[in-house]
């Protein structure tokens, strides 16, 4: 199943069961790759671009999740830059950030919204 990202709708991309607590997985919507991170303490899901701007490799979903300087972040597995889970902002370089999408859980499904 390859879900299609429709305009201004919430799209069902995978099941809660596919997520890994406090870690990431990747989904694909058409040509777009999205990294999903699950924060079970609050029930939040974060959706960020899966492409690491520093290596152009699609690996963000495979980074370690945590918090740095009070911000929840994922560390790129290649060169270890940190990206804020909420905003996509890179902590090491102001000029760099990842795309983000609103995401939520509903009845065991993971939904992503494109404005």
């Amino acid at each position: 199943m390859t879900a299609q990202l429709k305009k201004d709708t919430w799209t069902d991309v995978c099941q809660l069961d596919d997520l890994v607590p406090e870690s990431g997985v990747a989904v694909r919507l058409g040509k777009t790759q999205i990294a999903l991170f699950y924060w079970p303490k609050t029930g939040e899901v974060f959706a960020l671009g899966n492409t690491d701007p520093f290596s152009s490799a699609n690996v963000i979903a495979r980074g370690i999740v945590g918090d740095v300087q009070g911000k929840r972040v994922v560390a790129s597995p290649l060169y270890k830059q940190h990206f804020c889970l909420e905003t996509g902002q890179c902590l090491e370089d102001d000029a760099v950030s990842l795309m983000t999408w609103p995401a939520r859980l509903e009845e065991g499904q993971v939904l992503i919204h494109q404005p």
Partner: protein
Amino acid sequence: MTTAKHLVIIGNGMVGHHCVENFLTESESASWRVTVVGEEGYAAYDRVHLSEYFQGKTHQDLALGKAGFEDARLTTLLGTRVTEINREEHQVVLSNGERLHYDKLILATGSYPFVPPIPGHDNKRCFVYRTLDDLDAIASAASAGRTGVVIGGGLLGLEAANALRSLGLETHVIEFAPRLMPVQLDDEAGAILRQKISDLGVQVHVNTATSRIETSGDDRLTLHFAEGEPLTTDVLVFSAGIRPQDALGRQSGLELGERGGIRINNHCQTSDPDIYAIGEVALWQETIFGLVAPGYRMAETAASHLCGQSEPTFLGADMSTKLKLLGVDVGSIGDAHASTAGALSFRYINEAKGQYKKLVTSADGKHLLGAILVGDNSSYDTLLQYYLNDIALPEEPDSLILPTGNAAPQLGVDALPDTATICSCLNVTKGGIVSAIEQGCCSLAEVKSSTDASSGCGGCAAMLKNVVDTTLEARGFEVDHSLCEHFQYTRQELYHLVQVNQIKTFDALIEQFGQGNGCDICKPAVASILAICWNEGVLDAQHVKLQDTNDTFLANMQKDGTYSVVPRIAGGEITAEKLLVIGQIAKDYNLYTKITGGQRIDLFGAQLHQLPPIWKRLVDAGFETGQAYGKSVRTVKSCVGSTWCRYGVQDSVGMAILLENRYKGLRAPHKLKFAVSGCTRECAEAQSKDIGVIATEKGWNLFVCGNGGMKPRHADLFATDLDDVTLIQTIDRLLMFYIRTADRLQRTARWMENLEGGLDYLKAVILDDSLGLASELEQQMEHQLESYACEWKTTLEDEQKLKRFRTFVNSPDADDNIVFVQERDQIRPATNEEKHNLIATA
């Protein structure tokens, strides 16, 4: 314009070099030019560490600070000898016939080894031990030989014996006196040392006079003695003392001592005020100083005097010595023989451990006059400070040498006066260190580079660290050892917390002892601690989120997001069938293949979802994970060894496989690399590994704490001639101690260097069980190893775990951003530009 005055220095040894460096940094030397004439073909090198040449150090490594030699005022003539001094004309004559005029002249010609006139002493198989050329000659004679003999059982003789042994020769030491090191030791100490050295396989013959040396039929040498059986050898090294190289002084009529040496005053001037003598050629108050530190003091004195300063003067020097001979600690301080009137001796002898300690005090027992230590040097630094600074001894002086069950007694740094010398080689006092810190140095490294302390023999390292730490602490510095912002503990402290509090998960640990949610620094570090303490799989559900991508997916991520596949090939040994399996898999999945630096095969370019099917085929064919991704045991490199190689003395491949299979899977603060060589030729490069094993006729020599990589370090010899069982027991203890105490990402070399007491301390803990930890360490290792399972095998059997290996959780597709091009008949990742072109033409 005035022409520059000319200073000529004869001899480019350690002391001559030190003098030039000191002189050129004095501002008054601006109006001088300097010529150094050195007979050896090499620029000045560290003779004190000469023996390390046999452990692989090059002249480059041993060379003394080159900076001074780039000075435009300086000319250095190497491979050139001064043959004559003409004092009337102020000229020296060189071996190439040239003449140099001098305004001032310094003789730094050192000394030469004394060769006793035994008939046959000039045979081509007879050597001395003083220069790099000597060592080259010895090594080449040893390469085809079996046996080596050293005549002379003093300090240098034992060092030479060690060198012969390290060249793989069966080694004998012949000493004329009734004991080893007759100058520094008494009979009992000599006997203990002799026992220890004999235990190491070096045969010691004391009370033995060599009467003649003959060439035997097969081109070897036969030594005949006044009494006893003759001895046949391939190599003979004379180490029967040194004599000052004072020929030029004699030739030019300078005042000499009765038994040689050029007489000097407190400014190091000879009887001709335009000529100075420094180092081992100089005789000061009827004493020749055969150590480098007094030579350096003379060099500084002469340099200052040339610049018109009357300070410092040379007023003698302490001849105390601390060394490690063939792995045995020996220390001798001051009046070791208690020859001062009324002196009292205190002695402690432990035959079981081969230790001997002796204190010599003044008649009232208040002042230390001398000491001897054999087998345990841990109290040397403290005793030396008592001695040098005349600090009042404790009520019961023998408490300083009696075993206490704890670490050696340390003299508090506070008790030392500011004038106390901490580094005698470079003449750095406690006051000098304190003022370096006051001027802004805030670490050991900074103090070292600002004062040069500890850059000579290195014997002062522990004391220096102690002074620096205490001084920093007293000034309220707090060195931050926190792991990261989530844990204000070091890795070692966290390890203890986990163990003592029986903590099983990251969440419990951070809740009790940390703050926040963790990060990419603390999570993998804690995961490794948990794996070690509780032996759980790294991919068990509660640990998954802690792992680096490489650990999560049991493979190393490459620059384009693909992974490499490295099956274990223990010892580098592999069958043709297994090679075919690897080849077929590489072909089927179009993977790039390469032989690694660790003697195995790496397959590159697999995508996440391809890892399980690739590994399934490997596991089915009998391969296991190579753990190339983990901070764990990597490879045990081997050479082909006695099975095939004509020189091999043990089955190095067998041992390598045994070790690799034993320790595979073991998690550690950093990766661990081993190697096993079948003989001293060392084809497996074991001395560059964390654990290096080299076969000997009798068993295995163990080297530890070496590495290549960013900051290479040669491994240190740790124990010799071990049998298989003892070898493994020793490695078990050492590795477990490392795992328990090292910092995050600290390899064994840095770990050992940072242990207070360094190698000696480590030996005490591991070989002598000084902390009483040995059996616990062994048990813990057993426990670790029992639970080994190939992580790929267990992963393949677990549906839940396999779910992780999906490139996309919502699609079976591959990542279309991964594009390869061909190079040298294999794939490689396309560059961004190549990708654009490929997509444009598609």
